[in-house]
Symmetry: C2
Subunit: 342 residues, 2 copies
Amino acid sequence: MGESDTKGRGAGVRTITDLARLAGVSPGTVSRALAGKSLVNARTREKIEALAREHGFRPNQMASGLRRQKTGVIGVAIPLGHDVRQQISDTFFMTLLGLLADELTDKGYDLMLRRVVPMNDEDWLDRYIGSGMVDGVIVIGQSDQFDRIEEVADGYLPMVVWGNHTQGQRHCVVGTDNRLGGRMAAERLIAAGATSLAFLGDTAPIEFAARYAGARDVAMRLGVPLRVLPTHLAPDQLSEEIAAHLAGNAGEVDGIFAATDTIAAACMAQLRARGLAVPEQVRIVGFDDLPIASQTVPPLTTIRQDIHAGARGLVDLLLRRLAGEETESLVLPPQLKIRASA
Amino acid sequence: MGESDTKGRGAGVRTITDLARLAGVSPGTVSRALAGKSLVNARTREKIEALAREHGFRPNQMASGLRRQKTGVIGVAIPLGHDVRQQISDTFFMTLLGLLADELTDKGYDLMLRRVVPMNDEDWLDRYIGSGMVDGVIVIGQSDQFDRIEEVADGYLPMVVWGNHTQGQRHCVVGTDNRLGGRMAAERLIAAGATSLAFLGDTAPIEFAARYAGARDVAMRLGVPLRVLPTHLAPDQLSEEIAAHLAGNAGEVDGIFAATDTIAAACMAQLRARGLAVPEQVRIVGFDDLPIASQTVPPLTTIRQDIHAGARGLVDLLLRRLAGEETESLVLPPQLKIRASA
DNA sequence: GTAGAATTTGCAAACGTTTGCAATTTGCGT
DNA sequence: ACGCAAATTGCAAACGTTTGCAAATTCTAC
């Protein structure tokens, strides 16, 4: 019953040296024991481990990181480019983030999240990398920072980016084949009877631009008109903008390809408000296959991104790069998920 | 044109000592100059800053952290208690996370994200705190870890938790008054004509338990029956479970209080599939006021949580605690948002 | 019992920064 | 030109861990 402060962080043993004194060995030995090195005697190790457990001792990660020149932390940067409030509402990015956290935890890494506003901050990426706080970086979304990322990639290996793959680019990217996805969407709309198409969403982000380009491929090949109805992603602006577009293009569009399921869902609400029947009068296809896609009325036909494979790919490639390997980009196939909206 | 490697991380100047040599001063002076201390001559500072900029030098955060005994990093832990896949689908938590990142960035902190599975890992919280990697901790969701959090809170000041406030608890919490929210939901359902209520969702997490308790307060006071229809949060199980509940309780329930908007949305899809009219045959109220709430058909009446205020409150309280202050908990008022589903 | 190898340990120097203290320089008034 | 205070700088010791090397111990085989 003497054991007073078991497992208290407030206890007196904060450093590896304290623990060494208690165990009657040198700090070096404690370090080796706790690190599971083979060069320490089994009985010594047990004693040290027991003491460590008893006093709730954890080696200081900062000191360890400094000495070993690695931190066990992966930085995840979300650049908020053109549209600052963009990703907050973007379920896709947030879900990807959650999966990344799981995946990295599995591999023994921690995740440091940073949202950056490149406009205010020329060298966000250099700063992140140079801080010495992260062993590698995952960038979620190229936003409008393609060039900067390219620049950095030349001199810094452990970086992987979620986004669009462009012919000949130098940074390692994981992402869906957006252009192919765009083609699939347009084909489906036309197959479902659409004769005049619209792309609903901002075409500035290159992922979206690629989706639009894919749709245009098909539209031009088949001689179907295709217009762009630009919107933002923030939920408040979104509905109004869509409403304005629908009012302005009344009756001229019967097939909508939304850059995102989120946009598609908002659009369906507006279509319903205007009394337009989906898919009879207007067909609509989304992108992502978020959970919301199966809950709209009618359920949304969409281009599915394999987000789990994406997260796995990102950390897999990053770890290989941390090990020094020069990896290729990973382009995932999109998949047409037919529901009822087109 | 001699200037070769401007701003390259690969450059030769990696440490403060390198830079000191270049500037012809001592490392100490460089440190002071870069830290903006007042005791360094203006001209010296300028020269040093210029050199630093030219060579893209950034002081190593690990070393700095070690020496100063603070890291500039706030840990955010998401415990995945009862239901491991829980929060992945939980838009609310993910949105909160995004807002936290913004808020912390504003205050000059970084955010380290860790998802923990307490079942596999007795002392996740102690480990996080003791790692020396974070200056403070924000826990998102109490899950089933109330007791452990209480324990830790006694000896560790800089921790704030998002969750439910319970009379007499010792840890500092920020969250909505769930019980009041539950009362508001039940009152609204009954005012909208419901005569037999059901709570749809898991009652194990204490936030949800409190919501249920609020509904029960009202139901008992008014003599209206209230049953519990337990579900998980993972989207795949969710729909089936709801379908089963609806089949099993056909016609016996005309007012549903869903623990979450996500659950409510899934439920509305199932109601529609069974041909039950909302709100004529079944009224339904959600919780959170996520973006999805305004896009369901019909739009969802729900109990709004002020998530922005929550994020601000969390970091505000945490910073005060970092400064040594003992702060009270912050309980935010819920708000009934009437749309069309009840 | 002893040489030699094999296993365990201890020592001390890093890792890169910050900071109290002392030493130096500068400025000012006379 | 000199003394004194104020303003700058340099020195060196931390922060807590890891790790190459050498020293000490244990083991093995004769």
